[in-house]
Amino acid sequence: MKVTILQFPGTNCEYDTQHAFESLGAKTEILWHKAESVPSDTDLLVVAGGFSYGDYLRSGAIAKFSPVMKAVKVYAKNGGKVLGICNGFQVLTEAGLLPGALKRNEHLHFLSKHHNLKVANNDNIFLEKLACGDVVNIPIAHHDGNYYIDETGLKELYENNQVLLQYCDKDGNISNPNGSVDSIAGVCNKEKTVFGLMPHPERAMEKLLGSDDGVKMLQGFLSA
């Protein structure tokens, strides 16, 4: 299993992501954004979190034109698995690889805390090790995590089981920290090959650090 992790100027979660996947036994490679191809042995491509290009203009807006993104689009189009975490999710929506957009948090505050998430759909490799309705505790750290999609788009997400995770309280009742439509924390594409979420599963790998609920999530990719 080989995980390739993208690195833009301003990315800051690439080493956490690398550590997380290596702790699960995967081989990893960090790929600088100037690369013009995705390594051919890549089983999963991760767009890691951070502040690519300083979030200038909009989060993810400049990163989508990095040389490597052309290759990422081809890789995704051919069915390659892609996971975008936090800023990576923003990059994937900006690039049109995932539906919707991420707006400024409703209350305009940067949020950095653990949050509970409810599994909305698990018929995909990312969440197959969890059951629908399971609650996981994963850190969030974002300013622009307010997921927006219009009504037609939202209907389509539900029809195709593309809603992955929703923010909730410890009992699984919806609890919305940032104003996201239907409290959505993560979605995937129709083909269930491209995944994006604002929370950071790679920061939830050790009980000692507050939660190891990220293990089950990332493990899904390793068994595929």
Partner: protein, 81 residues
């Protein structure tokens, strides 16, 4: 030389949290007549062309591809020659 002024703002149906916060602040300053506030951004471009049609087409393409995220934002273009 031509100047293009691009105004980007959230679409009408999309909640503008910053606008709401500004409206709230204005009302606490007793500007009670403000019924709505939308916060946008202005991008000013200098273009090396005098062809208005071409400038309009180019800037529209820039808006669609980069300057605005048309999922959530609208844009307006003003050209000054």
């Amino acid at each position: 030389m031509m100047k293009a002024i691009v105004n980007v703002s959230l679409k009408a149906g999309v909640l503008d949290s910053q606008g709401k916060a500004v409206q709230h602040a204005l009302s606490s300053l007793h500007f009670g007549d403000v019924s709505d506030v939308r916060v946008g951004k202005q991008i000013i471009l200098k273009l090396n062309t005098t062809d208005k049609e071409k400038a309009k087409a180019d800037v529209t393409k820039m808006c669609e591809e980069l300057l605005a995220n048309t999922v959530i934002e609208d844009y307006e273009i003003e050209l000054i020659s």
